[in-house]
Subunit: 283 residues, 2 copies
């Protein structure tokens, strides 16, 4: 039933794109179309729960987590793994390093025509894994919502979502660009390679600095400068994310190797400046 | 003339404190008292010009710079060095590393009863230098406004100012606490030693990280996370300040030695984690 509705929906995608771009459709009629599609969020960890809740503003969302103690996000219906995998769209919210294992385990259970969408913080590795492991009848879209429960706690309006169509026809890709745009997101088209290179020197370096400073046990200060308050925000935000995300983000993005090398070099340059300067003695 | 008015003002400090704490004084009457005092800002560099302009909201401010090409800030009257040194209050806005030379050069020209106030980003070194070099008839107050033209560009309301009375009677110190409070600042009482220790691990570490990242030529990105945008803000703010401020801040604050050592250790801990992890090969 769900499948059938989704297919109708997909065939009528020209009209639905119109709906998303607000042409000639009342909000109610648009909402009816969107609600026909069932999105299954696979993994309800810190990010998965957050993303499922946001998707539920537009779609019917079901969720599953291997950890039964994880709470069910508002607006999401908790289902079994099998029911999850029968959804029109399966959104994978699992650790980067778990992707291959998860794909091997679900590949045989997906119906032809399902759209599998990942949300990993690296894009080359999961895109290649999805192409290698998922059956050819399954569509593949790689995404990276560049925000999470901390940076998106006051809403996700205008925040970037990286969009890489991997194996999906143009019409369907346009439909999804429209959906994400209608959620208020800034949809940025990029290849997985472009994403990983740019993310290594932005998100990757931020997480690295945040974790380094996290080792130092820095405290809030009555004499904090604006810059120091920003620095504490970065530490809080990066250290709130799972340790595994940090390690995976560095390990599975090959461009973080030159990033860490450049950073190491810059730190040594700066440290050497002061090794050669004597601190003045106070008498 | 100016001197005489200030002395009257100082003798009447009980009333003036009342004025600053808003008890029984009309804003106009308060303003008259404040305006009688002449503040001389010695040095109109990036910070000096900014601070002189803010002080002029409450006081009559005159300014001098050895560099004649520096613009005169709004609300400030440009004077000769000799006239500057005849002000009731001399606020030194010079580089930390220039303090001793400047103090040697002005010490003989100050009238008894002058209050000399520094604004350096370290406090132990200038406090000791002022005590050593300035004649005993001159009052000494060490301050560190924890902001500058970048972090204070939208106003200085609630920003911290570190306040260390070095050689000044309690009544006069209270008067100045009141003045700074009435400018909207958060006046934080600290000894120079407390300041330097806390600043090394807040402002000092922020400038160090900002300058390290400044070496990397990071760019604005369409897929910037909130954390990365904060990081770029830090780089911009710290690298906008003079290079000499950065070097002096590290060199003249002895507590930055353990800070840099701790930072170096934390970075190596983090780098070693990834040296021992192979980046997965994509086939």
């Amino acid at each position: 039933m769900i499948k059938k509705l989704y297919k109708t929906h997909h065939i009528a995608s020209g009209r639905v794109v119109e709906a998303v771009s607000y042409d000639g459709f009342s909000p109610l009629r648009r909402q009816c179309y969107d609600r026909l599609m069932v999105i299954g969020v696979y993994g309800l960890g810190r990010f998965g729960a957050f993303w499922a809740q946001h998707l539920s503003s537009l779609f019917t969302v079901i969720g599953w987590s291997r950890d039964e103690t994880r709470p069910t996000p508002e607006g999401v219906r908790r289902v079994t793994e099998d029911e999850l995998l029968s959804a029109d769209i399966v959104v994978l919210c699992v650790a980067i390093s778990a992707m291959e294992t998860v794909l091997e385990s679900i590949a045989g259970k997906l119906k032809p025509g399902t759209l599998v969408m990942d949300t990993c913080s690296v894009k080359v590795h999961p895109s290649k894994a999805m192409m290698k492991i998922l059956p050819p009848e399954v569509d593949i879209l790689a995404t990276h919502p560049m925000f999470g429960p901390d940076s998106g706690k006051n809403g996700i309006q205008d925040l970037p979502l990286v969009f890489s169509p991997i194996r999906i026809d143009n019409e369907k890709a346009d439909l999804w660009r429209g959906y994400f745009s209608s959620m208020g997101l800034n949809v940025v088209n990029m290849t997985p390679e472009q994403h990983d290179e740019e993310a290594a020197y932005s998100q990757g370096i931020t997480h690295f600095i945040g974790r380094v400073l996290g080792e130092l046990d820095l405290n809030q200060s009555a004499i904090a400068t604006a810059g120091y308050s920003d620095l504490l925000d970065i530490v809080r935000q990066t250290c709130n994310d799972p340790w595994r995300l940090f390690v995976d983000l560095q390990q599975y993005n090959p461009y973080t190797v030159p990033m860490r090398r450049d950073l190491h070099k810059a730190i040594n340059v700066m440290l050497e400046k002061f090794d050669s300067i004597n601190v003045p003695r106070e008498d």
